[in-house]
């Protein structure tokens, strides 16, 4: 229990630092201004109030430094940032006493010496105050809302952020877990400060662990001390973090998922099977959509020349670009009277067409060879045409075709083996065809990835 009391003492005294620290600053600045005023007025003897100002600043500063020392000891600040602020503060206190001595017998010293000390102190206080502000509010605080040019100059180029829009390339530990630890644990468990003997700066050091053994056991949340600590009742003396905000629900879920599921420190989301239970958290907290992307969103291709698009439109096709950065095309023949030449005119867009509708046209089986090599075709609508099994056979090489609409065509049961062979096919529509319902149903049930949609009536 003693440690707990001492700990509270540290915090209790430490938190007086911000209250006390501003008073001596005022004393020093006031004394310096008084001195300058008197020098401009050519007063023969400097007021003794000036030296008392320096004395009060020294005494007040000593108190502030004392509290500041303890505030630094709470472990909530990074050692690197703290060092300069701490020792510069102490230096200012010492200089204040020097100033008192100097001003007490001002005539004994050259004016230049006085001014050197004055400017030195003003400079030190300015830098010291800024460092203190950074410690409290974070380094970006001062220039966060500055004009962009100033901000870039002062804060420098931001560290390249991981592009969270591409879920697959997100490294679980580095991009998701480590930032949580950085924010909530690193202040007390880093390379310099290792409270409880634990350094959380790297996975290795976490596995080495602290006084109580390894911080966590991979793939075993219930044996992981770290996880136990962050999920204890908050009043428990062992609860982590002892001060500051506890981990949020989503953060705890992420840590749990990482311990349970993520084997390697370099594992990317794309490398592992993302459990259903963590998907909502990834989506909510990071906007990471871990659902598989449709094929047409993974195609990288230069946009089709607008001249070509116009040519397609002149051939009777309605052409839409999918949208956004995606240059793939959604093409539809509007009308009925399609000719083979028109269909062949799609050739320049062979790689670009991903959705194609020839529905309700007089397209013929043998014409389909014109589109049989469309590598990025994912959806093909042939409903209400005279297409037969032969036409389906022609299309069997479309390896990315996912949706094939054959409703109201002449296809029969013989097309089913062809459909079964098409590896990318996910849904095929066979309502009002000569395919028997029983056979369609059995294909639907036998082939897990393929849904065969027939209809009623």
């Amino acid at each position: 229990m003693n440690t707990l009391l001492a700990f509270d003492f540290t915090n209790f005294v430490g938190r007086f630092h911000p209250i006390l620290v501003h008073l001596p600053i005022g004393f020093i600045l006031m004394s310096i201004f008084m001195e300058w005023y008197q020098r401009i007025q050519k007063t023969t003897k400097l007021s003794s109030l000036i030296s008392y100002g320096w004395l009060l600043a020294g005494i007040g500063g000593a108190f502030a430094a004392f509290c500041g020392w303890w505030l630094g000891e709470t472990g909530l600040y990074f050692e690197d940032d703290l060092f300069l602020h701490r020792w510069m503060g102490i230096a200012i206190v010492l200089i204040s006493f020097v100033g008192w001595w100097l001003k007490k017998n001002a005539e004994n010293h050259a004016n230049s010496l006085h001014q050197i000390v004055n400017f030195l102190v003003i400079g030190l206080i300015t830098v010291e105050g800024h460092l203190g502000g950074n410690l409290t509010h974070g380094e970006a605080y001062l220039f966060e809302y500055a004009p962009e040019s100033i901000r870039d100059m002062m804060l420098g180029e931001k560290e390249a952020m991981t592009d969270l829009s591409k879920a697959d390339s997100v490294v679980v530990y580095n991009d998701l877990v480590k930032p949580i630890f950085e924010q909530k644990c690193f202040a007390c468990h880093n390379n310099e400060v290792t409270r409880g003997g634990l350094n959380m700066a790297a996975i290795d050091s976490m596995l080495v662990g602290g006084d109580g053994g390894p911080a966590y056991t991979p793939s075993n949340v219930s044996e992981s001390e770290l996880f136990r600590r962050i999920t204890l009742p908050q009043k428990n003396i062992k609860f982590m973090p002892p001060v500051g905000d506890p981990l949020t629900y989503d953060e705890i879920k992420i840590v749990e998922w990482w311990i349970e599921q993520v084997a390697s420190p370099d594992s990317k989301i794309g490398d592992i099977e993302v459990a259903e239970s963590i998907k909502p958290t990834l989506l909510r907290k990071y906007g990471l959509d871990t659902n598989p992307k449709p094929y047409y969103e993974t195609v990288n291709i230069a946009p089709l020349d607008s001249v070509q698009i116009t040519a397609l439109e002149q051939n009777g096709f309605t052409v839409n670009v999918l949208g956004g950065e995606n240059p793939l095309l959604d093409v539809k023949f509007s009308g009925k009277a399609l000719t083979e030449e028109q269909l062949k005119s799609l050739a320049p867009a062979a790689a670009h067409i991903t959705w194609l509708s020839l529905a309700r046209t007089n397209v013929k089986d043998e014409w389909l060879s014109a589109i049989a090599s469309f590598e990025n075709l994912t959806r093909l609508q042939l409903e209400k045409t005279a297409i037969t099994d032969q036409g389906v056979e022609t299309l069997s090489g479309l390896k990315h075709l996912e949706v094939l609409n054959l409703y109201g065509t002449q296809v029969t049961d013989s097309c089913l083996p062809t459909l079964q062979k098409m590896e990318g096919l996910k849904r095929v529509y066979l309502w009002k065809t000569k395919v028997s319902t029983a056979n369609a149903k059995s294909l639907d049930e036998n082939e897990k990835k393929l849904a065969v949609i027939t209809g009623q009536g």
Binding site: N320, L328, S334, Y407, I453, G457
Partner: protein, 488 residues
């Protein structure tokens, strides 16, 4: 006194637009193309969204949904008697609604004066259906069979507590009239896929009463007027005044329109009012609709099996079922936004009897529409939405008897469902508390719903804006988050 009549054709707003932004645009345009300044011919159709393309040119991202059929259930169906099963209400039937549950929620004047707010359990049987195990009452036997196609949001909430503001809020994103409706935004942003039909068609079940529907629910607000919803009526004239009067044949109509075009072109060069263009676009659309609309409305090619599937009602023009068939026909012809309205869900009293009628009128046709779209492959890129403007209270308005009660308006929670492209099937999002009064899991605001709808259509709801009265407006105003959890 103003005597300069040649100037009075400017509206105040057009005048200001032209003299400020207009001059700027003029000088910019002439910098880019100095000769263009002196070009005499201005094409009649100038703004980009007058053609097939919408104002966006192309969607913000690849759309999952190319067209929407919105089955709007006006009057607010009781979620507690249809979808949101709350056994606790049956257990506590007749007891006063605990104040702790009601919280600070305001009540309408219709029940705020009641001495007690007796909780009313449903009188209908609930069962779980399908692989997804969705709860449905026996009021909707047909829809119950297709629950594995549906995505329910049980945690919808709205800000309005009365019908008109709530419908207006749902359809336009604002409780106050004057903003464009969802369909108008879609038409404006994305344009048309079928130049012979309007992008936005409205079908209202005929002879239904209850809370009135105002055409502003499908109005264009401040968007150019060709983006407003076109109502197709049942009966001889689906679109009023569309047919040529006796003695006028299509050829002379065409000649008349061509002549009018020439005159209006001169008019537009003189005045520059963009509404002239909108009106001419409408004339041309009407001309094309003279052939396309009769073709849509002529359902003689529908099979008996289809009528059987949608229910016998579907043979009677103007019923919800008949409108569902029309909706499918419009979807087949690539109309982007098809909105049905079915009134009569406002059961303040006599709920057990009245809701049966409503459910019977809509259940079979709704299920048939979704099934029909699916078998035709249209569910690949069509979204169907079913829902009202708010929910109904868990307590009885008026006297609660074992067989009769009513439910008041309740904006804090209600259920809608969707089916089709881009969303999860057999999925339920969100939940209400055991009293069916408050949302306890994943609240979805009306603006969130609208944002999601636009997202599915490939539109970033924050980037489809229109400047009016000095500020840029959007459907979701300054709110709305896409409900990613329901996206497939």
């Amino acid at each position: 006194m103003c005597t300069h009549h040649e100037n009075k054709n400017y509206t105040r707003r057009d005048f200001l637009t032209k003299t400020t932004l207009g001059m700027g645009a003029l000088s910019l345009a002439s910098m880019i193309d100095p000769m263009g300044l002196f070009a005499k011919e201005t094409p009649l159709i100038t703004s980009p969204h007058m053609n097939s393309g919408g104002a966006l040119g192309k969607p913000h991202f690849p759309p999952k949904v190319k067209r929407v059929i919105y089955l709007f259930q006006s009057g607010a169906p009781s979620q507690l008697d249809l979808f949101d099963y709350k056994p606790l209400l049956n257990k506590m039937n007749g007891q006063d609604l605990p104040k702790s549950v009601q919280g600070e929620q305001r009540l309408t004047g219709m029940s705020s004066g009641q001495a007690t707010l007796p909780m009313a359990g449903t009188v209908f049987n609930f069962k779980q259906h399908g692989d997804s195990g969705a709860w449905m009452s026996d009021l909707m036997p047909h829809t119950s069979k297709i629950v594995d196609e549906l995505c329910f949001i049980k945690s919808m909430y709205t800000e309005a507590i009365n019908h008109d503001p709530a419908v207006t809020f749902f359809q336009t994103g604002s409780q106050l009239p004057g903003r464009p409706s969802i369909g108008s935004w879609v038409s404006y942003g994305l344009g048309t896929d079928n130049k012979n039909l309007p992008e936005f068609v409205v079908l209202v079940t005929k002879d239904k009463f209850g809370q009135p529907l105002y055409s502003r629910s499908w109005g264009n607000g401040f968007l150019p007027s060709q983006h407003q919803g076109v109502q197709f009526r049942s009966g001889k004239d689906p679109v009023l005044y569309l047919t040529n009067p006796p003695g006028i044949d299509p050829k002379s109509r065409r000649e008349q329109l061509d002549q009018l075009q020439r005159l209006e072109k001169i008019n537009h060069q003189d005045i520059g009012d963009p509404e002239i263009l909108a009106r001419m676009a409408q004339y041309e659309m009407a001309f094309r609709m003279q052939t396309s609309v009769p073709e849509i409305m002529d359902t003689s090619d529908e099979s008996d099996a289809t009528y059987a599937m949608y229910g016998e009602d579907s043979r009677k023009p103007g019923t919800f079922a008949a409108n569902c068939i029309l909706a499918r026909r419009l979807a087949e012809r690539d109309v982007k936004f098809i909105q049905l309205y079915h009134q009569g869900w406002d059961q303040h009293g006599n709920l057990p009897t009245a809701i049966k009628v409503q459910a019977k009128e809509t259940d079979q046709a709704t299920a048939a529409l979704i099934t029909d779209l699916k078998q035709r492959g249209l569910l690949e890129d069509t979204l169907v939405i079913w829902g009202g403007e708010f929910g109904r209270t868990n307590y009885s308005q008026g006297q609660l008897t074992p067989t009769n009660f009513g439910r008041d308006h309740h904006p804090k929670c209600f259920t809608i469902f969707m089916a089709g492209a881009g969303i999860k099937k057999g999925f339920t999002l969100g939940a209400t508390d055991d009293f069916g009064y408050n949302v306890v899991q994943r609240p979805v605001h009306v603006h969130d719903f609208q944002a999601t709808l636009m997202h599915l259509l490939g539109v970033d709801h924050e980037r489809l804006t229109f400047k009016s009265q000095g500020r840029r407006y959007r459907l979701t105003d300054v709110h709305g988050e896409v409900v990613k959890e329901i996206l497939s």
